[in-house]
Structure formats: C-alpha cells, structure tokens
Subunit: 423 residues, 2 copies
C-alpha cells in the first residue's frame, strides 16, 4: 500500500456509477413493459435473464421448509443469535407518537405510522447474502410494517439458495418472489397480478437494479443507492498491524472499487501494516479483487498527530470507521461523519457486518456527511397534528391572517377571518 | 365543484413536472459553468436571469438592518410569535444519542450529529415567503447545524424583499447571497470563491431550481422535490360549509395544479359546499388561479359512511387533511397517510401554514404514504457505535466467521480469526 503524508484535501469520493446509455435504456424498456403487461413481462425477463422458466413466481411453503435440510444446525443457531441481536438494537430505535397541550386548548403533535408495505431486494448470482436479508427486513419489522415482500432472482434451476430461504423463514417473511433485476423493481413499484405494489423498496443490487430503483423513486420510496464500500482505520503506534491489515483486506475483498484506508500517527505502524497487507493478501481466495482494490483505492496517511488524523477521518466521512488508538472512547466525540464506528481492537468490522446488532446498510462514498445507517425511522413516517380551539383561534387569528396577507395569499387570510366573524 | 360517489380507486397523484428537454439541458449547462468558473458564472447568470449586476453577492448588515423600516411592528410581532411557536414544536423533535452496555463488555449505540452546513433556497419573483424561511431554517437550527446559508434571487434593483431580510434577521441567519435559480443550487453544491459548499439544500423553487436540486442530489442531500399542493377535507353533516369552502379555496389559490378535495358522508353538505365555493370564489384576488384549480383538480366525494370516507382519505394520502366531523379526535387513529392533520372547525390550514408550530413543508402528491413533514431529523444523521470487548469476541467470534464464510467472504472470517489466535 502506498504511504503518503496528509495533504490539504483528502476524499474517498469515487464517481457514482450511473450506468451506460444502453443500460439506462434497457431499464426504461423493462419498466415500461412490466407496467404494460405485468406478469407476462416479468416471466419473459426471468426466462431471458435468469434462465428460469417459472409458472409460479412465488416461493412455496414446501420450498421454505425443505431448505432447512441443507443448512447445518450451528449456522442456524448463529443466524438466530444474529437476528436476536439485530432485533434488540433496532427495537431501541423505536419512537413514540407524541402530543403537547396548551392552556388555550391547542393540541399539537407528531404521529408516527409504519409504512404499509416494503419490498426487499435480495441479490442473486453466485453468492447468497443472508446478512443483507436480516439487515433490511428487521428494521421494517420493528417499525411495524404490515407487509414485507422479498424478491430475488432464481438460478436456472428455478431455485433460490437454501441460506436465503432459511433466513427468510427465520425472520417470518413468507411472501417471496423469484424475480430479480429491473423487472423485480418495476413489479414492486407498479404491481402485477401476482405481485402487489409496495410503498418502499430497499436492498442492494447490480447496476440494473440500481438504475431501476432510481427510475421508480418518487412513485415509491427507495433506500440509498449504495456506492462502492469503504473502511477507514484510525490507529496510533499501539495498534496491532495484523488486525489492521486483516480488516483492510476484509473491505478490499468486496469489490475492485472498494476503498481501504489507514490514517495513523505512526510512520512505523504504516510500514508494518503495508507489509502485513502484502503477506495476508497472498493467501486470500479473493486475492485478485482485493489486490486491485488495495492498488487503486488503498492508501495509508501518516498524520503529525491525532488531531490532524481525526480531521482526515472527518474529511473522508467513511462508511466504516475503526478506531484503534490507545483511548478510543475519547475519540468518538470528535468524529462528525461516519456510518458506523468500530471501537477498539476487538471490534473488527465483520462483527458489525453480521452479528452485533447495528445495521450494516451504511452511507458510502462520503455521504455519511448527511446520511444514516438504515434504521427503523426509514420504515415509518410522521404526520403533524394541529388542533386549535376556538379560544386559540380568536387570540391568534388576526396574526395568522396578517402573515397570509404579507405573502399575498388573501384566500388563506379569509379562511381565518370567516371563522372569526361569528365572534 | 363536481360531486361524485366514491369509486374503487381514487388518487390525487398528478404527473411530476420533470421539465422539458431544453430546461434540463439549460440546467446541466449552468451547473457545469458554475463548477468551472465559480463566481464569474454566478454573476453572469444573475445578470442574465435576474437583471441584477452585482459586485457583492452577499447581503450586508446594513441591508439587513435597513429592512426593518419597511415592515410594521405588528407584523414583526406576529413573525416573532410564529418563530417562537415553530421553534418550540421542533425542539420537541430533538433526539438524544444513546448507548447500551452488556455484561460481556459490549457497548452499542447510536450517535446523533447535526449536519455541518445547510443551504436554504428562498424563491424570489413577485411574492416573498417569510413563512418558507422560518419553516426551513428553524429545524436546521434546532438540530444544531453550525452554518446555515440563505440564497434568493434579487430583483433588478439588486435588492431582496424587506420581509425576507427581516425574517432572516429575526432568525439570526447572516450568510445570505443574492443568487437564485440553478446557479444558486450549483454554487451551494460545488462551492465558489464567495459561497462555500453545503451538505444539504432545502427549500422550494421553480422548475429550474427543482431540476438543479435533482441533478446535484448525491453530491449533497436535498429535501423532497415538492409537487403541486393539495388539501383533503373530511366532513360529516355537522360541519360548516362556509369554513370548508374557504379552506378549499385557500389551497386552490396557490396554483392551477393545486388540488382541493372534500370527502363527506353528507350529500347535503356536498351541495352546500359546492355553492359556497362558487360564492366565495367570486371575490378572490386570485380568482383565475383558484377557479382553474377547482375546475381541474377539485372534487367532492360522497361516501356511504365514515368508514368508507376514511378509506378514501387513506387512498389519497393528502399533504393536508382537515377533519371536520363530530368527533374528530376519534378519527386520527384511523388515518394512516397524511402530511399534516388539522383537527376540528378552528384548525384551518393557514393556522399550520404560518403559526401553530408544525412544519408546513409537507409530502405532496400521495408521497405521504412514505414521507414526512420537514423535521429536525432531516438535519441530523446517525452513526452506529460498536465496541466489542475481548470477552465478547471470544464468545461470539466463531459464529461471526461462520456467517462470513457462508457468504463466501474469507477475508472477513480471517479478520475475526486473527484476533482469536492469541487466545
């Protein structure tokens, strides 16, 4: 890894992939076709893109139950514990509706309501990602969403991976369709005979899924469009270079565009980590991917002191931040921008990816400046409540109509005045 | 107004204005030019579009102080009371960071941080909208945003309206630039020599502003892209038709595309309201606008009973909902989708537009199904905190690496394993 001094402006930001002209056109065509012919289009695209010729798009109870035979009990146990932890953390995010009353009879409030329905996209392809299912479904369940639908592309054999089905079963998700790509997003947004529309779509996917989500945004809500993933490790001379190298590589194995960065006050640690990265990289199954990521987006910044190092971290606004300094808890208060903060030597990023409880869907590409981890609020919305008494309107009505007239809105003023005429 | 029975599917949704090809191209060109030449481009566009040849883009203290001479004291008093009410309501939305600890030494938490900087767009043109300034600035201030910038197009005389300047002064906003249109949005997103960039842009504007916000979204955060405004009044036979007609018209005067809808269980009330609308419309200054709105987007639904009427309201998911039934408080719990709910005969919509406290920036066009009024959360973001102890990792590490390997992510598993090797 390259070791560089801190420069005036550092940034993790990589260009967002907005697809090629051809990809965008393909997605538009798919959405249009699904809007027009519904299930017929969904089935045709599923055959064309996934190679699966499906009469029934929906996963059966039999398939769900059968999947258990393929997953060993220890894994099921680990999944259950992860689910318990994630559910517990998200329960703590729940908010209450509230009201406040005034002596003149005014009641004001904020009502929190769960969304009616949510669709979770689960990517297919070679790997299955049970953790992604947990992280998207659980906050929606905790929020109280009544209908949670899962969509995921089947293999050519018409099946979903057993780990995906078991995870869904463990979560109690029963409405699952074997549909992926832009056609799945279109079906969730506009509805077909077999797939009723939802109010929000979450979950990661390839470029076609991302473009389709962007296209239907407004008709339904979507979560963020995730960019390439990143980790920043903040460390002083006391940190263990083996741990840091392992964590940087765990990020780098995701994607050639993933970014792994160390910010340290120690030149010596910088060199040790660079050596360790080379050593550990050599035996990784995803060596080619991790190597490209480290080469193109990996960097070690050497700062003069912790203050400068923290400033770099805040400029980077990383998705994942690990703090491996002597007194890591003291640093948290100085971090202004980070999706998730992993504190101390035993809080390796995968602890949060799978198990601890907080969500692993995090703002990437510098957007931690203004975005949050996926959370229960994302599956609720607020309604304001305003109840004015006759007394309150009589005391304040003339001010309200004056403000309305200041803006040239006479009908607004008259809506107040007509109520005061009876006085 | 047309009176119709309830049909199976009702909807307020109008097409979102995504601009013409020419408008989108113009906005792209403006953004590109501002990115390249900064203030030079901003000044040139300000001269071209607003007719103002400005050396200094920033409003001076002298201008701010001078504006007070033009606004009468009663209005300033009304503004101050409105500000107090709005601030009080939004203070109640504030959330605390929290942490939870476990016996094995695990600490998990959620840190709430205010955004660093926010830009508020204030539309110019013939009218000035002090209420819009209050509604956008106050939640940001309550959230704790350090830098709040206002931008607004000047008149050809190079001045901003006195009411805008006084409102900004009353709120303590001092960084104000006389720049509007897409060039203002571009400057806020990318920065120029005189206007430093911000993290989020909020506030309404014309189609060029809306398109520019959409274009810079991702680089910075934005609030919603507001569609045309709407009101739904839910009323039974006891409601006063004069009040209802006045409230429907107060919505209709905003915009030819605004939508004013009554849902009632009483055929008689429906007819009375239709007559009252005609009568009150006749003398409105904005008669032409309101008449077009009522003609094209106004409708009275007559429902069989309150249950059916409430169902219609939830299908419409209105921005503003007024409940004018005999026991309006009993209805609130049945409303699933509405931006703001105005309860009872004295809670006319303008009460909330200007004065009561809740925000008037609300989800339009059916998006109340999944969106909320502008609120303090919109100006903060969350960071998760994960601190695992050695004990916690020793007890759970093998489950975490098993889950990582289930997903084929070996480097993730090794980041855990390497920490357990020392055991």
């Amino acid at each position: 890894m390259k070791i560089v001094p801190v420069t005036a402006n550092v940034s993790l930001t990589r260009d967002l992939d907005t697809g090629t002209e051809a990809q965008r056109a393909a997605v538009e065509a798919i959405i249009q076709q699904v809007k027009e012919t519904g299930d017929e289009a969904v089935r045709a695209y599923t055959k064309q893109f996934d190679g699966a010729d499906l009469l029934n798009l929906r996963v059966t109870n039999q398939e769900l139950e059968g999947a258990y035979a393929e997953i060993n009990d220890d894994l099921i146990q680990a999944l259950r514990e992860a689910i318990t932890n994630i559910r517990d953390f998200h329960e703590r995010q729940k908010r209450q509706s509230w009201m406040t009353t005034k002596e003149d009879g005014t009641i004001l409030g904020q009502k929190i309501t769960a969304l009616d329905s949510v669709g979770v996209y689960v990517p297919g392809g070679k790997a299955a990602y049970p953790s992604s299912i947990m992280m998207n479904v659980i906050p929606a369940q905790v929020a109280g969403v009544n209908r949670i639908v899962m969509v995921s592309p089947a293999g050519a054999d018409g099946k979903l991976p057993a780990s995906v089905l078991v995870t869904a079963s463990e979560l109690g998700v029963k409405e699952i369709y074997k549909v992926g790509g832009a056609q799945a997003i279109a079906a969730l947004a506009y509805g077909t005979d077999s797939i009723k529309p939802v109010d929000k779509i979450t979950g990661p996917g390839n470029i076609y899924v991302a473009l389709a989500k962007r296209a239907v945004f407004g008709k339904v809500d979507i979560d963020m469009i995730a960019g390439p993933s990143e980790i920043v490790v903040l460390a002083d001379e006391k940190a263990d270079p083996r741990f840091i190298a392992a964590d940087l590589l765990s990020q780098a194995e995701h994607d050639e565009q993933a970014s792994a960065v160390l910010v340290t006050t120690s030149k010596q640690l910088a060199e040790q980590v660079a050596t360790e990265v080379e050593r550990q990289l050599a035996t990784l199954p995803k060596k080619a991917i991790a190597e490209a990521s480290i080469r193109d987006y990996g960097v070690i910044y050497v700062a003069h002191d912790l203050v400068e190092a923290i400033d770099v971290v805040n400029q980077l606004a990383p998705e994942h931040l690990e703090i491996l300094t002597e007194e890591p808890m003291n640093v948290i208060g100085k971090i202004r921008h980070a999706g998730a903060i992993f504190v101390g030597p035993y809080s390796s990023e995968p602890v949060g990816d799978y198990f601890a409880g907080p969500n692993h869907v995090l703002p990437t590409n510098g957007t931690a400046r203004f975005s949050s981890p996926l959370n229960v609020d994302d599956f609720t919305k607020k309604s304001s409540i305003i109840s004015y008494s006759k007394q309150a309107l009589e005391e304040n009505g003339h001010k309200i109509s004056a403000l309305a007239r200041l803006e040239g809105l006479e009908a607004h003023a008259r809506a107040i005045d007509i109520r005061l005429e009876d006085k």
